[in-house]
């Protein structure tokens, strides 16, 4: 999976209206609450690189005070770069190298049945517990739309894992039966 491009996320946030570093950090953490919060240093370093590359420019003729007081706006080059990024499709992640997949396959192939059952039961419980936690967070009346969207994303992925787990076990059971016949 590709790493998130912080520069493009910042460009997206700035495309609404010019903001300074502090506001950008707040906006980033609000719309992507599931992501790691941005450090201020990272915001200013990224803004510095973006200014150097001509993607953003200080808003207004003169700088007032230090970098934290400077408002930035998206330039035409920045807009083009943002549009190009948005035109690029993310590769549909195959998840083919997932740690979960590997462990389940090994548990079914190589472990004795009690151990496999113990692991799979515990794994399912960890998934359903997390699902309940996310559901609680999401249905909190104070949850912002960013938090709800991030929770939705995690919930459907956990749900997919759970469905796959159930299907896999049913499939293995069918195979076992076939072999025994």
């Amino acid at each position: 999976m590709c790493a998130v491009s912080t520069a493009h996320v910042l460009l997206g946030l700035l495309s609404k209206h010019p903001q300074h570093g502090y506001e950008l950090k707040q906006a980033h953490d609000a719309v992507l609450p599931g992501a790691k919060p941005l450090a201020f240093g990272q915001v200013y370093a990224t803004l510095g690189r973006m200014e150097r590359d001509g993607l953003v420019a200080p808003d207004g003729a003169e700088r007032v005070g230090g970098p934290d007081r400077t408002s930035f706006r998206v330039t035409t080059v920045g807009r083009t770069s943002l549009d190009a990024w948005l035109d690029e499709v993310e590769p549909p992640a195959p998840h083919a190298s997932s740690a979960l997949l590997a462990k389940v396959v090994v548990a079914l192939l190589a472990a004795d049945s009690d151990r496999a059952r113990r692991y799979l039961t515990a794994q399912r419980k960890a998934h359903t517990d997390r699902l309940r936690e996310l559901t609680r967070a999401k249905t909190d009346p104070h949850a912002g739309v960013g938090a709800v969207i991030a929770a939705d994303y995690a919930i459907v992925h956990l749900d997919a894992d759970l469905r796959w787990l159930a299907t896999t076990l049913a499939r293995v059971a069918d195979l076992d039966e076939e072999i025994r016949q």
Binding site: R117, T121, A166
Partner: protein, 251 residues
């Protein structure tokens, strides 16, 4: 866990020669939301019918507030369903000829509440569930989500102690289902109503306090119908009364 409100003990139920429940023991606490999950044909709806007194088990016991329920006469059990119990199905439970407000008022009218009083109580529920604007509409004129919220109002208008919900969002799209589920959870928490929520969806079960998984008419502590499970290991533990009577642990 809070006080046990509703309990099934070793419940067995068959349809002709095919067993649906093969010894299920489950407790539902006061105000607790319990999801009953499992694949199609695992017996989850049959368990709901037995717990709510719609059906009588072939063997085992159902008790409500410590008193046997399954041995009572049908008339007594249906009286319970008009007062202490509320029932919500997947769809098709509203009376097509009656507007929303009268559908919600129906359980009160059946209990002998006067029409004016029943209607005003029904209006309060429609308002609480955000569907006051369809009060005069017939079920055929409502969207699926609206109809299900009206049905929820009808299930809750008698302020029951237990709500039985069988795949209540099964016929709705994701966001509409989520809204209906949100309403169910919010109002039952406000009322302190216990819920038996039958669903095959993990995302729906995640709204509950606890999950009871079934497989082939028995409790499935693994939640996965684990094919390699040796029956002895599933119900293991000193208190286990045997694999068919393994109790679910409260969380």
């Amino acid at each position: 866990m809070t006080e046990v409100l509703l309990a099934a003990r070793g419940v067995v139920k068959s349809y002709g020669n095919s067993p649906a429940l093969r010894g299920v023991t489950v407790d539902v606490g006061e105000g607790e939301i319990v999801a009953v999950t499992g694949p199609s044909g695992c017996g989850k709806s049959t368990l709901l019918y037995c717990l709510s007194g719609i059906m009588r088990p072939d063997a085992g016991e159902i008790s409500y507030r410590g008193a046997r329920l399954d041995t009572r006469r049908e008339s007594e059990r249906s009286a319970l369903r008009r007062g202490d119990f509320g029932v919500l199905f997947q769809f098709g439970q509203l009376v097509a000829e009656l507007p929303a407000v009268d559908n919600v008022a129906l359980p009160l009218l059946l209990r002998g509440t006067r029409r004016r009083e029943a209607r005003s109580a029904a209006m309060v529920w429609l308002d609480r569930l955000g569907v006051a604007d369809v009060a005069r509409d017939l079920p055929g004129e409502m969207s699926g989500g609206q109809a299900q919220r009206v049905a929820l109002g009808r299930a809750l208008v008698t302020e029951p102690h237990v709500l039985f919900a069988d795949e209540p969002t099964g016929a709705l799209d994701t966001l509409t289902g989520e809204a209906v589920l949100g309403h169910i959870v919010r109002v039952v928490r406000e009322q302190g109503t216990a819920v038996v929520l039958v669903t095959h969806e993990a995302t729906v079960a995640a709204h509950a306090d606890r999950e009871v998984a079934l497989r082939d008419g028995m409790l499935d502590p693994t939640g996965l119908g684990f094919p390699m499970a040796s029956p002895a290991a599933v119900g293991a533990g000193p208190a286990a009364a045997g694999p068919r009577h393994a109790r679910t642990s409260g969380r």
